[in-house]
Symmetry: C2
Subunit: 333 residues, 2 copies
């Protein structure tokens, strides 16, 4: 059992074209390989406003697969702690033995989530997209914007968030990091109106984007909704879109934007999975004027893909704490 700390993982694994391709391939594997991806396991801790999710996926032929534990404890700010925590465990596919523990504290989840946004943008945003809008100003908003920038020649960014200070910090930081103008919008409507690509990264329980704001050529990626009660897009948006894409149909219907569709069976039938597009079975955007929408709820196959990728990079560096000598692992783990 080799253990890697967050510092080691942070030093060697970044959001870049390589990790985006890893996630692109992960979505493709959902179409081209046998994948065992059980529903998300969730443990609620209502006393402390907390929840723990467990995700996993085994992909046929892969040497290891991940079991990811991630938590959100939303009273942690009172203790001066971040709300999110998490780690990934890699299990040997042949023997079932635990091979490695990645104490990433949610960093690899941030990377694989942003990479999924990049994959969506790559197939669904117009090639000519130059303006990006972000609703929400947290850490995933930052990652998503950086991911989008890797896929399209974005020249201007508009951002909206409910907390002025957070939005101002976001704008300043992104202007510096990305070397481009970041405008603070006065409303979500302004963001949508002024952008070719819009990314929503909120924990909202009611729609933040209205169907009447959609315009030709727009692409929206909705990252936030990953629970029954969460919703970022007005239901009419799914119907109005020329192409509605999601990571996993069943999951979007249970936890994502599809859950709120006025005729969810009809939308379910109309929805395209991202893997169908990355694998070439279905087309993404076919002309500049289409309106495209992608709902990402987060999948175990992304976790397995990023964890195996990280492990393969990390094992080439002298790092990690080995619990017991390597040849005693069978005894120990």
């Amino acid at each position: 059992m080799i253990i890697y700390t967050k510092d080691e993982i942070y030093r060697h694994i970044q959001l870049n074209h390589e990790t985006i391709q890893v996630i692109d391939d992960a979505f493709t594997s959902l179409e081209t390989k046998n994948v065992a991806m059980p529903p998300i396991m969730r443990v609620d801790v209502p006393e402390h406003n907390g929840e723990v999710d467990v995700k996993s996926a085994y992909v046929e032929g892969i040497e290891m697969f991940a079991i990811k534990v991630s938590s959100g404890f939303f009273n942690n700010y009172k203790l001066g702690l971040p709300s999110g925590n998490g780690l990934m465990m890699l299990i040997n596919s042949v023997t079932g033995q635990p091979e490695s523990l990645l104490l990433d504290n949610g960093y690899l989840t941030d990377i694989r989530t942003a990479a999924a946004g990049a994959v969506a943008a790559n197939y669904l945003a117009s090639e000519n997209a130059r303006t990006a809008g972000v609703i929400g100003a947290g850490s995933q908003a930052r990652y998503q914007l950086k991911a989008l920038k890797l896929m399209r020649d974005i020249e201007q960014v508009t951002v909206y968030g409910p907390t002025e200070k957070r939005v101002r910090e976001f704008a300043e930081e992104m202007e510096k990091d990305l070397g481009m103008k970041v405008t603070i919008a006065s409303s979500p409507e302004q963001v949508v109106t002024e952008s070719d690509v819009v990314i929503t990264t909120t924990p909202s329980k009611k729609p933040v984007i209205k169907a009447e704001w959609l315009h030709p050529g727009l692409h929206i990626t909705a990252m936030g909704s990953d629970a029954e009660e969460k919703q970022e897009l007005e239901a009419g948006i799914l119907e109005k879109a020329d192409l509605f894409v999601c990571d996993v149909r069943e999951q979007s219907k249970r936890l994502g934007e599809l859950h709120h569709a006025s005729d969810s069976d009809a939308m379910f039938a109309k929805a395209v999975e991202l893997g169908e597009i990355t694998s070439g079975k279905r087309q993404g955007r076919t002309h500049d004027d289409q309106i495209t929408v992608c709902d990402l709820t987060g999948t175990g196959v992304q976790d397995t893909a990023i964890a195996v990728h990280a492990y393969n990079i990390l094992k080439n560096y002298k790092a990690g704490s080995s619990i017991g000598k390597r040849n005693q692992l069978t005894q120990l783990t």
Copy 2:
């Protein structure tokens, strides 16, 4: 994040009256406290004849809870490796931070499973039970017998298993360990006929005990069935029993003996949960001539109970590998 190896856990945690009480209390908590116990998450690895289960349960008011990963890879014997593997992770209930990793390799699962058998025997077997029968001769059969011995004055044991060599080894080892006669039976029927308490610990996919063998005063604990296709008891046994008990009704119906009942809705209504008995809401055995049956499928609340118990004992010893200094944990995990 404090990590304990199997050797450390093995040295300090044993199957005894204390651990049995811990599991008794765990079942009671299912009745008396708010418990979030999601369905078992299962990842199948059919290529390698393997499966990984994830179990968890949060008990209101508890300081930590476990997420347990356990695997069974049934081609491992070809590699000279045990089929089972596993570890438990303890999550802080207030912050969601990972507190400890127990690299127990399935040992704590063995203990808590045997302890559940002891709890069942304590409430359901006749006080006058003197003969025990075991069907199956693996490691859980050994633990179960030791657990039963802690609860009843067993004087003679009968064992049946399909592989002569394994059964002979079992008998020799148990005679030595428990200091009593162990008879090798020629059939499961002989085991049932000659025993006051019978424990089945097989991975059987068809019944190993027939209803016609039941006799007044008998108690059966069926440990083996924990998947849709597994079954140890002929369906008629559930109906014929004066009292049918299971650990969790919904789980027994999905994965255990209730799954095979001829009228599973009626049996579901008739079934009593072990926690109803440990908590005093319902009675266990009320007279010596009753026939009682208990189906144990294994629950996350047992895992949380044994993991917290083990952690509390282990932290009092100078042991464990701390990943990072204690005050840097927020950064690291």
